[in-house]
């Protein structure tokens, strides 16, 4: 199915002077796609050329459209010698390939040169006409949408969440090809950039094909990574979650999406049944089951594990609609079976999502992770990347079995990563074992019958904490207690997860960023010896990281970790471990015990004094932290006196006890968990060091909070100011004192100082919260440690925060507002997707009769208004709180049909690692941004040294991302992530090189305040998304 790509080169500006004699430039442009090249005329003697070219037309297969980037090269014409390149622009045209995203790419793009950086800008217009798509044995997968966002994108609802998709492609790295010795660094860099662009296009297309096979139409939580394996090649791999998404466009469709929470939780009380799975015993922590395997790469035995393993596993067993509401035992069993089978049919029941539709997550078991050390060798045949596939398959299998051992049939919040040093590679995968609600996983979902019972709600906010495994046959020793919230089910004493805090979780107080940092020296070694040494070190590292996390968590007086990410980085002579997570106090879990210090040699008086001193310090810190994070859980002993537990909760409590009377009896020994004090034995210097490091972590200055999850538990009144930033630090260790302790201290200081610097820099935003704080550690050289942090600072309203510290109120507020948000989605979407018919009509003609459209819109709005109000009345859960919740929400409701056009801040492109923009609504997803840049310099000193070089480069990367988003008609990037920042320097040669890979979702958002300003009379404006930010500046 061919398509026609049309490109027009309009003008350039701020070009560099290429002719010293005249101080001017004779610029022309080459437009290349695939093997076809067009040229513009030479525009003589100008730094602001106006080419105003004709439309260059490329007739290409849509396969190529997906794979190839459009390559625009700006050159300086030279009559006598070769033309000099000024720079290039690569444009990924993928967003133009699905009809709901952008229709045109038009705007100013920075002209980028890998040696000189940005050199002026060029104005380009790109369009694609796709011919009729007949969906035969195609190699392309146009129309499948990709989202980096690890939750269901805001203006969609998930009909089915199919599951895991993965793919990898390999190639030789141009940097290591023989030709690289004779070509210029520029040529080499450009070859690399182009290759990676091609490979990611190909990868995306292949993943798209798998999604189509599964009968999905989108990939959510798409994460693409590069492994620069050096000599042995270049691997581009991606994982994601295939879904069938539906735009929130019709009231009928919208209803089940946001108003059927936790219903099934009740239907499927997994804890009742003894888990049929056999449990293997594992390490005694909720951080379950790490494995370390080292196998020389050649000796793998799996046969056909190419990544094209058949994944067309869409379950055929549709739920019998209409019957799911019954509570009969046999039916439950059936339901359970179906869930099980639905998931077991999948090779890997993994989900890269970290936040879920209400009711999706039933129980959470704990973190599962697996690592494996591999030796790299040359990839001989790029077309059959079997080795790498087998490696990953092995690890995923591992993860799957761990999850099973935890009584869970699925893994959520799943991610994979690598760390490479020379020829050794550590592959890691981690996720959270969970029990899921089958409803979202199957075709022909059961929505129809469930709506009537919406008003019945389970005890909110604790269901997911209940253990999924069998308490008599626990996979690891843990202290179980009855849930402090519902008192019906068992919960563990601590819970570690890799996902975001579920929106319905009941949290007490605020959360905070908790990090465990660890270095271990390792002897330099070669090949297998090296790999073995690393494998041997790994378990100890994992264990220590875990202990540190546990200690720090207790020190904060909290009992659960969310968004846990443990990164193990391998270097020449050391291993680094960095774990980041957000600690919270879950109301459902028991109060954590304190930390007890015990000395091994209790006869020494002064020693004991020292210990008691330490103990006091620790106790003080815990008390202080409890105050700081407002952790004051209600006393447990009393029976629900005066606790602000809402009505529905009690009712459902009743309901529960009727149906599950067997649980009613055992309400004893709740205080068991409290006695469980954590004992730290300081019998050697190591332990002393641990205790010290516990106490050296300084809390953020007042007015600051930080977390590595999407939102800060306990803060929900965000104001609109956001500041995304990247900060990079490299320290050089003095090689003299390389002991583990010194190393640990250096690393700890590095991280702490970095955080302190961030707090200082952002002090003008107080009160604010650093969200999605993402640390990445790399060891570029022997004595260098590089830490890269990307996060976003968001301001919030302090006064309001103080008012709403009552957790329950807070909780319901939050829920109400999210509900509201979803209520509001569809009217906004109304116009961009005119009729609710097919989710993704391929290559729809884009001519719309606007005038009649307006009428239709307003009719729709009337209809929706009615519907929406019925819904609101129907849902008892929220009606009470909505009034209190947010006048803003109400305001939105009135003005829901406001167009996004009235965006006053044209040209400003927001960037955020979060999936949302505070105080604004995302009205449209324009496509994925996935960019890879290389920058090199041979005049490092002149560019301000390493700091100057990298500072400029990162600023340029931001600029290019913003320019692409603006050209797509967007005004923000959400779920932005800097996946790689590989920096290499050679100060002696005055050289440096850096590779950066970033991605995110380009979106159009509308400020809520603007929603209110603009009246409801112009719904048509909605239909012209390009007017929001099409032109940056002219």
């Amino acid at each position: 199915m061919p398509g026609k790509l049309k490109v027009k080169i309009v003008a350039g500006r701020h070009l560099p002077v290429m002719d010293r004699a005249s101080d001017l430039t004779d610029a022309f442009v080459e437009v290349k796609f695939g093997n076809t090249t067009f040229k513009t005329d030479v525009y003589l003697k100008s730094l602001n050329p106006q080419w105003n070219s004709e439309w260059f037309k490329f007739e290409v297969d849509d396969e190529d459209l997906q794979d190839e980037p459009l390559q625009i090269t700006v050159l300086d014409h030279d009559t006598y010698s070769a033309n000099d390149a000024i720079g290039k622009v690569y444009i990924d045209i993928d967003p133009l390939l699905y009809s709901e995203a952008a229709t045109v790419i038009s705007g100013w793009f920075p002209i980028y040169d890998t040696i000189h950086g940005i050199r002026g800008e060029i104005n380009v217009v790109v369009k694609v006409d796709l011919f009729n798509d007949l969906n035969r044995f195609r190699q392309s997968s146009c129309g499948v949408k990709f989202f980096c966002t690890t939750s269901i994108p805001k203006c969609y609802r998930a009909i089915i969440i199919h599951g895991f998709v993965e793919e990898l492609v390999v190639n030789e790295d141009p940097e290591y090809q023989w030709i690289d010795r004779i070509r210029t660094p520029r040529a080499s860099n450009e070859a690399r950039q182009r290759l990676i662009s091609l490979m990611s296009g190909e990868l995306q297309r292949k993943i798209g094909l798998k999604v189509l096979e599964m009968r999905g139409n989108a990939v959510v939580g798409y994460l693409q990574c590069f492994d620069l394996e050096g000599e042995s090649g270049l691997v581009v791999r991606a994982i994601g979650t295939a879904c069938t998404l539906d735009k929130l466009s019709s009231p009928a469709a919208f209803l089940p999406a946001c108003n059927s929470p936790s219903k099934e939780m009740k239907e499927i009380p997994f804890n009742e049944d003894p888990n049929p799975n056999t449990h293997s015993s594992g390490p005694s922590t909720p951080l379950k089951n790490q494995t370390y395997s080292f196998s020389p790469s050649k000796s793998y035995s799996r046969q056909s594990s190419s990544s094209d393993t058949d994944l067309s596993l869409t379950p055929k067993t549709g739920m019998g609609s209409g019957s799911a509401g019954k509570e009969g035992g046999p039916f439950k069993a059936l339901l359970r079976q179906q869930t099980q089978s639905a998931l077991e049919q999948r090779e890997f029941p993994f989900f890269t999502l970290t936040a879920f539709p209400p009711g999706f997550l039933v129980h959470v078991g704990g973190v599962v992770s697996a690592r494996s050390v591999k030796l790299l060798d040359r990839i001989h045949n790029p077309d059959e990347p079997e080795t790498r596939d087998a490696w990953w398959a092995e690890i995923r299998q591992e993860i799957k079995s761990h999850a099973k051992a935890l009584g869970c049939h699925a893994v959520v919040g799943y991610s994979e990563s690598t760390s490479i040093c020379e020829e050794v590679c550590i592959l890691s995968a981690s996720g959270t074992a969970a029990v899921l609600n089958p409803r979202f996983l199957q075709d022909g979902s059961v929505e129809g019958c469930l709506e009537q019972r919406l008003e019945e709600n389970l005890p909110v906010g604790c269901g997911f904490c209940h253990i999924p495994y069998d308490e008599l046959n626990m996979p690891f020793p843990a202290h179980l207690t009855y849930c402090y919230n519902c008192r019906k089910q068992k919960v563990p004493d601590v819970l570690f997860t890799t996902i975001d805090l579920p929106t319905d979780a009941t949290v007490i107080g605020k959360g905070c960023l908790i990090q465990a940092r660890l270095c271990r020296l390792k002897k330099k070694a070669q090949a297998e010896a090296n790999a073995t040494a690393i494998s041997n070190l790994l378990p100890f590292m994992e264990y220590e990281v875990h202990t540190q996390l546990m200690n720090k968590l207790k020190l904060k007086g909290m009992n659960a970790l969310f968004g846990l990410r443990i990164q193990i980085t391998v270097g020449e002579n050391m291993l680094m471990g960095l774990a980041s997570a957000t600690g919270v106090y879950l109301a459902a879990l028991p109060t954590p015990g304190g930390i007890q210090i015990a000395g091994k040699t209790p006869n020494d008086g002064s020693y004991e004094q020292h210990i008691s001193h330490m103990q006091k310090k620790i106790n003080d810190t815990i008390a202080k932290n409890k105050e700081l994070y407002e952790i004051n859980p209600p006393e447990i002993s009393e029976e629900i006196i005066g606790s602000p537990i809402p009505e529905p909760r009690q009712r459902s409590r009743l309901l529960r006890s009727q149906s599950e009377s067997s649980d009613e009896v055992t309400e004893l020994d709740l205080s068991h968990g409290k006695k469980d004090a954590f004992v730290l034995e300081i019998d050697d210097t190591d332990a002393m060091e641990d205790v010290h490091s516990l106490l050296t972590d300084v809390p953020p200055p007042s007015g600051f909070y930080s977390c590595n999850t999407e939102i800060m538990p306990g803060i929900n009144n965000w104001t609109s100011e956001i500041q995304m930033f990247t900060s990079v630090r490299v320290i050089r260790l003095s090689s003299l004192n390389l002991t583990n302790q010194a190393l640990n201290k250096n690393f700890n200081d590095l991280c702490e100082n970095l955080l302190k610097s961030l707090y200082f820099k952002l002090r003008s935003m107080i009160p604010c919260c650093l969200c999605h704080v993402n640390f990445t550690v790399s060891l570029p050289e022997d004595e260098l440690i590089q830490v890269t942090v990307t996060a976003v600072a968001i301001t919030f309203d302090k006064n309001q925060a103080l008012q709403t510290t009552k957790t329950h109120v807070e909780k319901s507020l939050q829920r109400a507002s999210t509900d509201n948000e979803e209520l509001l989605q569809f009217p906004l979407e109304l116009c961009s997707d005119s009729l609710p018919s097919h989710p993704f009509p391929p290559a729809k003609a884009t001519s719309v009769d606007y005038s009649s459209f307006a009428d239709r819109c307003s009719n729709w709005i009337e209809l929706i208004k009615l519907k929406a109000q019925t819904i609101r009345r129907g849902s008892i859960k929220t009606t009470v709180t909505v009034e209190k919740a947010s006048p803003m929400g109400e305001g939105n409701f009135r003005n829901r049909s406001a167009p996004p056009c009235a965006n006053s801040t044209v040209g400003v492109v927001k960037m955020t690692p979060l999936s949302f923009i505070p105080g604004a609504k995302i009205t449209k997803y324009l496509g994925i941004i996935n960019m890879f840049f290389i920058r090199e310099t041979t005049s490092l000193r002149e560019e301000g040294g390493v700091s100057g070089f990298l500072h400029a480069f990162i600023a340029e990367v931001f600029a290019m991302v913003r320019a692409h988003v603006a050209a797509l008609g967007g005004n923000a990037v959400v779920s932005y992530i800097m996946k790689q920042c590989v920096f290499m320097e050679n100060p002696n040669k005055n050289q440096a090189q850096c590779l950066i890979n970033v991605s995110g979702d380009a979106v159009v958002f509308v400020r809520e305040s603007e929603l209110e300003v603009v009246s409801a009379q112009q719904p048509t404006a909605n239909c012209q998304p390009s007017c929001t930010g099409g032109e940056v500046t002219t």
């Binding site: 050089r732 003095s734 002090r763």
Partner: protein, 364 residues
Amino acid sequence: MTSELDIFVGNTTLIDEDVYRLWLDGYSVSDAVSLRVRSGILEQTGATAAVLQSDTMDHYRTFHMLERLLHAPPKLLHQLIFQIPPSRQALLIERYYAFDEAFVREVLGKKLSKGTKKDLDDISTKTGITLKSCRRQFDNFKRVFKVVEEMRGSLVDNIQQHFLLSDRLARDYAAIVFFANNRFETGKKKLQYLSLGDFAFCAELMIQNWTLGAVGEAPTDPDSQVDDMDVDLDKEFLQDLKELKMLVADKDLLDLHKSLVCTALRGKLGVFSEMEANFKNLSRGLVNVAAKLTHNKDVRDLFVDLVEKFVEPCRSDHWPLNDVRLFLNQYSASVHSLDGFRHQALWDRYMGTLRGCLLRLYHD
């Protein structure tokens, strides 16, 4: 443990106004850090000196990168690399082009050449402004001068358009450019009492009335007006000023003029007798200044002459400002009653401006 690399890049470029000021003032990073420490910021924020050092370095690096763009402010608005809210952009530009009064008085009217640039060392020592800051200010003057020098149309408008400065700052720059172009001497000791504001006021009047642009014929006949519009004085006008000489050369005319002024002012002036005694000197002074303006050299000395020939004599007789005003009004108006004098329009063009200037220059 040493920090090899330490950067912070925000999607919105962070601008710390205090650090910007320190940077503009030409302080080195270490000086800036110690100045910040002294401001008590560590106590306020609980930060450490290392944090402050890193923060200052970071801002300095950003400013260094922005400097290239600040040299052509419209570029700052259109560039894509730094996302800066418009209000912040305006602040960056305005502060960058702001100057120290002490510095500008040193270079006002001097040729903005390499030679002058060499003297910046001395100016720096004399004024206590860092050499770096002096250089920036000097380069700003020079840059603005170069851009608008050859341009047609209103000087202030041109400056505003190309440098996006506030109205007030653009006016000051117009004066600086005008003075630099005409090389008016302002550094003499007897002119030290005058501020930039005084000169800028005069410059504005002169631009309005004495330049080619002031004649207002340019739009109708653009080809013939190859000369600059606002920066150069109207040569023809200066030539014509010789005609005024008869006001003092012709004794009858001078006497008549004097009697007209004296009659009109009798009883109204506190310093009437002094005025009467000095009339001829003053009038000769003012008219000779006009007659001399044909020579470039004398144009340069305009302000010296005005102060010598008019301001100082009056001041030594302790004329109140109001009396000066009354006198100058009457002095220029009375010429209209001199039947033998034909150059009324020329006189008005000259005296109208000069009266304004003199009144502004007349203070202690």
